[in-house]
C-alpha cells in the first residue's frame, strides 16, 4: 500500500537529529566553514545519536537493523544542519555498511563492534585524481601476488584520510571487477597528501592518497573470496548523496521563504511579489520531488529490488535540485545572499559539489 508516512521510530529519530542539527550544528556551521575545522564536540554529539549502532545487529554490538529509508531520512536532516558535519559524522558508515553488506563473518566480528563505541574516523577511498572519474574505469589496481593483493594507484577526495585508522580502498581487479580492501593507514606504501582545498564542504578534511605497492592479506579483501557487488554499494552511495542534497536544498528553501516573508521592499514583503513567490514555490516543489525520488530508491533497496535506475536518477535529480534551489536562495536574499555570514551562499557552494561527489557517503 502506497504511503508517505515514516514510522514512529523514524519520526523520533528525525526529531532527535533535527534538534542536534538546529542546536548544535547550525550555530557552528559558518565558523567551521571559515576555519575549515569542525569542533570535535559537535561530531561527538552527532555520533551519540547512535545512527550506526542503531543500524547494526545485536550480535555485532549494535541494537537494530540497517534500512536505507531510515538512512535517507537521517541524512537529509543532518545535511539540513550542515553538509560538512553530516559527512564527517557519517564517515564511519563508509566502512561499516560495506562490511555489514559483504564482509566475511571474521571481518564483521573484527570491525563492526568498533562502530558501536566512540566516534573514530573511518573512511573509504574511491575517487581518483584528474579531470574525469569513472568508477567503472578505475585506475587503481589490485593484483594478486604471493597470496596477497598489491594495490597501486592514486586516490583523491578521501575524507579524514590523515586520521582514519582503516581505509576501505576500492581497486580494479584482474578480471576488471572492482574490489574493496581494508587497508591500515600506517601501512607501507600509503602516502597521504596535503589536505585538499575545495569550494565547499570546507569543514571536512579530504586528502589525496597514493598507494605504491601496498600489500594486503587475502583476509582483508572485503567479502573474502566472494568479494563485493560494487554496483550495489554504488547504489547506496548515490542514494546517500541524493538524500544529503535534499537536506541542503531544503535548508535553503526554508531559509529563503522565511527571509522573503520578513524582508520588506517597496512597502511589502518581497514574498508577495510573484517573481519571488514563484521561485519559492518552485524550490518547494523541487525539494519535495527530489526527496520522493530518494525515498523511492531507498525503499527499493530495502525491498531487495534492483534499484540502479532509481538510485542514479535520484542522485542526478537531487544534485540538480540542490543547485537550482540554493542558487534561488542566494537570489532571494539579493546582496545579503552574497555575504558569507548568511548561510545561503555556503549552501550554494556545498550544493554545486553533488554532481561530482563520489563515495563520500553511505546509507
Amino acid at each position: 500500500m502506497v504511503s508517505f508516512t515514516p514510522t514512529d521510530e523514524q519520526r523520533m529519530l528525525v526529531e532527535a537529529i533535527h534538534r542536534y542539527a538546529e542546536l548544535d550544528v547550525r550555530p557552528i556551521a559558518h565558523e567551521a566553514d571559515e576555519a575549515a575545522s569542525i569542533p570535535d564536540a559537535v561530531i561527538r554529539t552527532g555520533w551519540e545519536i547512535g545512527l550506526i549502532p542503531a543500524s547494526l545487529p545485536e550480535e555485532y554490538g549494535g541494537f537494530g537493523q540497517r534500512e536505507a529509508l531510515t538512512g535517507v531520512l537521517a541524512a537529509e536532516e543532518l545535511a539540513w544542519g550542515d553538509l560538512a558535519v553530516a559527512l564527517k559524522v557519517m564517515a564511519p558508515a563508509l566502512v561499516a555498511y560495506p562490511v555489514l553488506m559483504f564482509g566475511t563473518e571474521a571481518q564483521k566480528r573484527d570491525l563492526l563492534p568498533r562502530f558501536c563505541e566512540d566516534y573514530s574516523p573511518m573512511t573509504a577511498a574511491l575517487t581518483e585524481p584528474g579531470l574525469f572519474f569513472d568508477p567503472l574505469a578505475m585506475q587503481t589496481t589490485a593484483t594478486a601476488e604471493d597470496g596477497q593483493f598489491v594495490l597501486n594507484g592514486a586516490k583523491a577526495n578521501v575524507p579524514l584520510a590523515a586520521e582514519a585508522e582503516t581505509i576501505l580502498v576500492y581497486a580494479r581487479e584482474a578480471g576488471g571487477e572492482v574490489g574493496a580492501y581494508l587497508v591500515d593507514r600506517q601501512q607501507a606504501g600509503i602516502a597521504v597528501g596535503e589536505r585538499e582545498k575545495l569550494m565547499g564542504i570546507r569543514g571536512l578534511e579530504t586528502y589525496p592518497l597514493t598507494l605504491d605497492g601496498v600489500r594486503v592479506d587475502q583476509a582483508r579483501r572485503l567479502g573474502g573470496e566472494a568479494g563485493i557487488r560494487f554496483g550495489l554499494i554504488q547504489n547506496y552511495a548515490h542514494v546517500a548523496l541524493a538524500a544529503l542534497a535534499v537536506g541542503v536544498a531544503r535548508a535553503s528553501a526554508e531559509y529563503a521563504r522565511a527571509y522573503a516573508k520578513q524582508r520588506v521592499q517597496f512597502g511589502v514583503p518581497i514574498a508577495t511579489k510573484q517573481a519571488i513567490a514563484f521561485m519559492l514555490a518552485e524550490a518547494a516543489i523541487e525539494v519535495d520531488a527530489a526527496r520522493l525520488m530518494v525515498w523511492e530508491a531507498a525503499w527499493k533497496l530495502d525491498q531487495g529490488q534492483e534499484a540502479t535506475r532509481e538510485a542514479t536518477l535520484a542522485r542526478q535529480y537531487a544534485a540538480n535540485a540542490a543547485l537550482t534551489v540554493t542558487d534561488a536562495g542566494v537570489q532571494t536574499l539579493g546582496g545579503y545572499g552574497f555575504i558569507r555570514e548568511y548561510p545561503v551562499e555556503r549552501w550554494l557552494r556545498n550544493a554545486r559539489g553533488f554532481a561530482m561527489f563520489s563515495g563520500l557517503a553511505m546509507v
Partner: protein, 421 residues
C-alpha cells in the same frame, strides 16, 4: 504506517487491463482521430462503456446505501484514487484525446457527489450506471471573460417565481465533452451561474442542465492544437429553463462569513482530486513519448545507461536520462497527492505541486522527444509530434502552471489570495 511505494496487486492488474485497451483499441485509432478532428472514438467508447457503467453502478449504489451501523467501518486507507490514477495514466498513454471522451459523469459527477442531495445523486447519476447507450457528463465553468478568474463569471440564473424554474443566460467555453453530454447522449452538464452578481463568489451556484434542454445550444466545436479527439465545445444559454431542484446545494445566497462560499469551495475542492488526475493523464502522454524514443534509439543501437558518468554520455543519452528523471519526479508528486486523497487527508498543496510539475515536465519531455527523433519526430507518420501537441494542454487546463504555482506559493508562505495575487 511506513513509507511504501507498493502498488497493490489488484491495481497492477487493472493497470495491465487498461494498458491492453490502450494498446489494442486506442493506439490503432490515434492518428486517424487526430487528423479527422471531430470524429468520435467509437471503438474506445463501445469497449469501455460497459466497464465504466458497472463500476459507476457499484459506486453509486454504495454512495446511496443507507449506513449500516452493524457493518464495521473499513480500516485504513482506500485505493479509489490510486486506481483512477493508474487508469487515467494508462488510457492517456493510449491516447489522451480519446481518454477525454470516456463516457462517464467526469467532473460533473464530482460536483454532484460533492454537493448534491441523495435524491439528486440518484436522479442525475443513475444514467451513468445503466443502459446500453453511453452517457457523458461535463462541467461548464470557463467563460470568455472568466478563465483563471472563475469568480468573474457572467452567466446568470434567474428564478422565475411562477414556474419555479431557473432561467439561464450566458456563454460557456472550453467545455470538455460538452457535445457528447448535450447532443450525443442523454447526459448532463453542470453549469456554474450566478444568482446574484453583487454577491461575488457567494452568488455562484452549480446547476444541472440535461441534454436536449431547449435554449441550450452547442455553438462551436473547437479546433485544437492537440487532444483533437476530445470534444471541446462552447455552449450558449438563451433563456434556458431548468427545474428548481436542478440547483446543487444551498439555493440561498449567504454572506461569506456564514459559509456562503461553501458551494463554491466544494467545487474548488474537487480540484484537489482533478488536478492529480490531470497530472496522471499528462504522465501517460510523457511515458508514451519516452518509451517510443527509447525504442527507436535502441533500434538505432543507442542504449541509455544508468551507470555512466557525465563525461561518457552522449548528448542524447543525457537528455533521455533527464526526461526520465523529470517524469519520475512528476509521477511521484502525483502519487503522493493521490495517496493523500486515499488516506482521507487534505492535499491542496500537493495536488497543485503535482499538477504544476507534471504540466511543465511533460511539455518539455514531449518537445524534447520530437527533437531527438529529428525530422521523423516532426513527421505526422509517427506519433511523437502528436504527443507533443497533446501534452501541451496539461500546463493549461485545470489551472495553468501559473495558477498552480500561485497556490503552492500561498500555501508554503501561509498567505491568503488577497495577500499574494
Amino acid at each position: 504506517m511506513a513509507i511504501s511505494f507498493e502498488i497493490p496487486e489488484r491495481v497492477v492488474q487493472e493497470q495491465q487491463m487498461a494498458m491492453a485497451l490502450a494498446q489494442g483499441v486506442m493506439r490503432p485509432q490515434a492518428r486517424r482521430l487526430d487528423e479527422d478532428e471531430h470524429a468520435r472514438p467509437v471503438d474506445f467508447i463501445q469497449m469501455i462503456w460497459p466497464v465504466l457503467r458497472d463500476q459507476q453502478k457499484r459506486q453509486l449504489d454504495k454512495l446511496l446505501a443507507p449506513p449500516d451501523p452493524n457493518k464495521p467501518k473499513r480500516e485504513g486507507p482506500g485505493i479509489t484514487y490510486l486506481r483512477m490514477m493508474v487508469q487515467v495514466e494508462a488510457l492517456s498513454w493510449g491516447d489522451a484525446g480519446q481518454y477525454l471522451c470516456m463516457p462517464s459523469a467526469l467532473l460533473a459527477g464530482s460536483a454532484i457527489e460533492a454537493v448534491g442531495t441523495p435524491e439528486q445523486k440518484e436522479r442525475f447519476l443513475r444514467r451513468f450506471a445503466e443502459g446500453d447507450d453511453p452517457k457523458w457528463g461535463a462541467m461548464a465553468m470557463t467563460e470568455p471573460n472568466a478563465g483563471s478568474d472563475t469568480k468573474a463569471i457572467e452567466t446568470t440564473a434567474v428564478l422565475d417565481p411562477e414556474t419555479r424554474e431557473w432561467v439561464l443566460n450566458g456563454e460557456k467555453i472550453f467545455i470538455t465533452g460538452g457535445g457528447l453530454a448535450l447532443n450525443e447522449s442523454n447526459g448532463l452538464v453542470v453549469v456554474w451561474a450566478t444568482v446574484d452578481k453583487s454577491a461575488g463568489r457567494a452568488g455562484m451556484k452549480p446547476f444541472v442542465v440535461e441534454a436536449r434542454t431547449p435554449g441550450v445550444i452547442v455553438t462551436k466545436a473547437e479546433i485544437k492544437h492537440g487532444i483533437r479527439a476530445s470534444d471541446t465545445v462552447a455552449v450558449s444559454f438563451q433563456n434556458a429553463r431548468i427545474p428548481y431542484d436542478h440547483l446543487l446545494g444551498d439555493p440561498e445566497v449567504r454572506a461569506i462569513d456564514e459559509g456562503g462560499t461553501k458551494g463554491f469551495k466544494g467545487a474548488m475542492a474537487t480540484f484537489d482530486a482533478s488536478r492529480p488526475l490531470v497530472a496522471a493523464g499528462a504522465l501517460g502522454v510523457g511515458r508514451a513519448a519516452l518509451e517510443f524514443v527509447r525504442e527507436k534509439l535502441i533500434e538505432a543501437g543507442i542504449d541509455i545507461p544508468y551507470d555512466r558518468p557525465y563525461h561518457k554520455l552522449s548528448a542524447i543519452q543525457r537528455d533521455v536520462l533527464e526526461m526520465e528523471a523529470q517524469l519520475k519526479a512528476a509521477y511521484l508528486l502525483t502519487l503522493r497527492a493521490i495517496s493523500l486523497l486515499d488516506h482521507g487527508q487534505r492535499n491542496s498543496l500537493e495536488a497543485s505541486m503535482a499538477k504544476a510539475k507534471a504540466g511543465k515536465a511533460v511539455t518539455w519531455v514531449t518537445q524534447k522527444a520530437v527533437e531527438i527523433l529529428g525530422m521523423m519526430g516532426y513527421n505526422r507518420e509517427w506519433l511523437a509530434e502528436k504527443w507533443m501537441r497533446d501534452a501541451r494542454i496539461n500546463d493549461i487546463y485545470e489551472g495553468t502552471g501559473q495558477i498552480n504555482l500561485l497556490i503552492v506559493a500561498r500555501r508554503i508562505l501561509d498567505y491568503s489570495s488577497r495577500e499574494l495575487n
